[in-house]
């Protein structure tokens, strides 16, 4: 199984742990990630908030670059995933846009390169059975709240890989790892995403309500797939504690970190030391399973 891998900018900064853990997961499962040479920023939220052609072109340039290799492009970051898929949709459904994008980037692109999220690849291409065969450790009943946020699932017309109101793909991965996937109502609520720096007040209020719902549902940690969700939910717990006097102590892990842990990847690649809220509850659950078995 070979894929062209598009890391996205945050893989080099805020979500380095998502990047290294997903590469470790791919390696352990025999999935070949071939990094797209010369990849550039997808444009993210600031591009589409500024100019539609700019946004579509920045993303399309990467897909055009990937086209020659003829493989599906696999992405981890929910924001990159959404932008690349939106660019595909824009150029394939709108001839005027296709022409403008072609002019802007100096080339032709028809929107035909398949963009896949790593979760999608794990569930649909590899399959949960094959994944389970390779697992070395279990989450051992750890209660995990799967948090999808916005961009992985919305809008349905463009993303189209899971239900936009009640997605279940991460739930299935958690169950496959021996964890208990919590049923809770805030799976697809918004954490404030790109408002992190501009309207921190709003992000604090939105993350507070997500965290309090996860806590009420009995979660011991939250699994995410988006760098913005991870940073907001993890880092803002400090502010919530300081400004609102509430302490959640809920570790926020990328789903790929949970997988890397259960696949026995190295500590460095799993990157649990990158988290602001220490994930002791998670490692303790995995270790308790190991000592019970021996």
């Amino acid at each position: 199984m070979k894929y062209t891998y598009y890391p996205g900018c945050s893989a080099e900064s805020t979500s380095r742990d998502q990047h290294t853990s997903s590469k470790a997961v791919a390696e352990a499962l025999g999935i070949d990630f071939i990094e797209l040479k010369g990849w550039s920023c997808c444009g993210s939220t600031p591009a589409h908030q500024t100019d539609r052609v700019l946004a579509a072109s920045l993303s399309a340039a990467n897909l055009q670059l990937a086209q020659k290799a003829g493989r599906d492009v696999v992405v981890n970051c929910a924001s990159c995933y959404s932008r690349l898929k939106t660019a595909n949709h824009e150029v394939s459904s709108n001839p005027g846009m296709r022409q403008k994008v072609g002019e802007a980037m100096g080339g032709e692109y028809d929107g035909s390169v398949n963009v896949r999220h790593f979760i999608e690849v794990l569930i649909h291409d590899l399959g949960l059975g094959a994944l389970q065969e390779k697992l070395k450790y279990s989450l051992n009943g750890l209660k995990v709240a799967p948090y999808y946020g916005c961009l992985l699932v919305r809008p349905r017309e463009i993303m189209g890989f899971d239900d936009p109101e009640n997605p279940t793909s991460m739930d299935r991965l958690i169950t496959a790892m021996g964890g208990e996937s919590i049923d809770w109502p805030h799976k697809v609520e918004c954490c404030g995403g790109g408002l992190a720096l501009t309207r921190t007040d709003l992000v604090i209020s939105l993350t507070d309500s997500i965290l309090s719902m996860a806590e009420a549902a009995g979660a011991e940690c939250i699994a995410v797939a988006c760098p913005m969700c991870q940073v907001n939910l993890d880092m803002r717990q400090l502010d919530i504690e300081r400004n609102r006097g509430k302490q959640y102590n809920l570790p926020i892990l990328y789903i790929t970190q949970l997988l890397a842990l259960c696949l026995g990847a190295s500590r460095e690649k799993t990157g649990l030391n990158k988290l602001m809220v220490p994930p002791e509850k998670v490692t303790r659950a995995v270790i308790s399973g190991v000592s019970a078995a021996t």
Binding site: G38, S40, Q49, L54, M105, P155, P164, T200, N273
Partner: protein
């Protein structure tokens, strides 16, 4: 909300520009307000999404570009996902932001336009984002040096903020895209 309409006044306003830029037909909105109920920031904003659409239908002009929702909107797409008429309100918000910048609307709280500019500037130069450069430009522009500084040391230590920008992107194509789009308009 109270909306006053002068008798006999012809409706024009900026709705046609918004529809053209977003590719969305706003005439089919029947004010069910599902967009507003699901919007994560409507409770924190003066005008919720359904109201913005209604005001556009009724002929709002440039004054609507000062609405705070244009910049509190997190582009979460919940409004689009839940609209029974398939109106892409998130795309309407993008069009309103572009118009707000082009027509010099007032600077919103938190100055998101400056953040977007700082972000895109690093992309234009390096082909990829460079967090430190972007954060510095934004913080200098908004004089919010102290906010979040408590988290910086930990983030740097954990490698969550890269010290140096990346050099491996296809910078030529990215520069060309900027030159052919936002720079020539």
């Amino acid at each position: 909300m109270t909306i006053r309409i002068k008798k006999g006044k012809k409706i024009n306003g900026i709705i046609s520009s918004v529809q053209e830029m977003s590719g969305v037909d706003l005439s089919v909105c029947f004010q069910c307000k599902k967009c507003t109920s699901g919007c994560p920031v409507s409770a924190h904003s003066e005008s919720p999404p359904a109201e913005i659409i209604r005001r556009l239908q009724l002929g709002a002009g440039n004054e609507i570009l000062d609405s705070d929702l244009i910049w509190t909107c997190a582009s979460c797409e919940t409004c689009f996902a839940r609209c029974p008429m398939r109106i892409d309100t998130a795309a309407v918000m993008d069009a309103l932001r572009a118009l707000a910048m082009a027509r010099g609307a007032k600077v919103p709280a938190g100055n998101a336009p400056l953040f977007n500019k700082a972000f895109l500037k690093t992309v234009e130069i390096f082909g990829r984002t460079y967090d430190l450069g972007m954060i510095a430009a934004y913080k200098i522009g908004t004089s919010t040096y102290l906010q979040d500084t408590d988290k910086f040391p930990a983030m740097l230590k954990k490698g969550k903020i890269a010290l140096l920008p990346s050099w491996d992107a296809d910078k030529k194509t990215v520069k060309r895209i900027f030159n052919k789009t936002v720079k020539t308009r």
